[in-house]
Symmetry: C2
Subunit: 162 residues, 2 copies
DNA sequence: ACTTGATTGTTGACTTTTCCACCTTTTTGC
DNA sequence: GCAAAAAGGTGGAAAAGTCAACAATCAAGT
């Protein structure tokens, strides 16, 4: 961080890197908080939260809302069931899916943890203004979109197409 | 994304989540680009880059500049050495550390990949204004800092100290 | 109704990442 | 100087994530 000749370029270069760092820090923070409350990991907690908030309660929508890979989602859901956090019922409208029902255990966990995470969120955004937050949300969208492109002009040493 | 009653809260709640998603997208993008050029992964590339740019060349500073966990750093460095990208020399000032020297192979890889990643960066920030970028950088710093706090008021159910 | 193609979820192998306990070197306090 | 403490590095184990194949289900067109 000492020598900074081409600061503009360097800053540009560091954007994904800084986001990675930020993500890592946020992740670690969430992990500490969540694991202090029980035996759920991040992914499992997200599933519980989405259902507890009444956003979704069937597998595919929950999976998409949480952004978890379907393979891992299946495993996490299995773990949640085994630990007694959820009960899975058949879903009549689509028999491939399941309806996820939270148990008391899950609801209690959510009631305890929810407020703590809410406070964490408040703490996170506390020093940002609404305008800044708006910029951030917009930028995240834009960047996520720009991150889709993978075919930059590649001199292609020995690369073949798929 | 459909039902959005308490949008403000929900948005606040989703910040770490959205950052996680963005990070995931950026990561995937970088992975595709980098792996199209050779056998380096992200972490390894970052090490090479930091050294190639002349920012640092001893282990601990490089590790901190790249933000890689020390355990993984050790393994990545070992891999780099084995693949012939770096040569490790003893560091006289502190014999726990090493001096990292790049080989021609690493320098060539950096010369080829650098420009492509530069273009990627330009592509990423292309749709953002300078003001927005400034807000982003500032916010990342602020958020990363806020992410350090892990001791939120925890009612501590049946948690014991270790 | 039947068939084809697309979704969804599950599973198991595999890779990658993260965590942790240990060892060496360096630094600090006496 | 020497012992204790701190920091760096290493390697193994565990967790998380990825990938590909498969079975069940649904949607659509014939």
């Amino acid at each position: 961080m000492t020598n900074s000749d081409e600061s503009a370029i360097r800053l540009g270069l560091l954007l994904p890197f800084q986001i990675a760092q930020l993500h890592s820090a946020l992740n670690a923070q969430a992990k500490v908080i969540i694991s202090a409350y029980g035996d759920l990991n991040l992914a499992q907690w997200r599933i519980v939260r989405v259902v507890a908030l009444g956003i979704e309660n069937t597998t595919t929508p929950v999976r998409k809302a949480t952004g978890i890979d379907k393979s891992q989602f299946s495993k996490m859901l299995g773990a949640l069931e085994q630990k007694g956090y959820v009960v899975l019922h058949p879903y009549e409208n689509d028999k491939r899916q399941h309806v996820i029902e939270l148990t008391d255990k899950a609801r209690k966990a959510h009631e305890r943890l929810g407020p703590v995470l809410d406070e964490r969120q408040r703490h996170l955004v506390a020093t940002l203004t609404e305008d800044e937050l708006a910029v951030i949300y917009k930028s995240i969208k834009v960047l996520a979109n720009a991150a889709q492109k993978t075919d930059f002009d590649i001199p292609a040493p020995e690369q073949e197409e798929e």
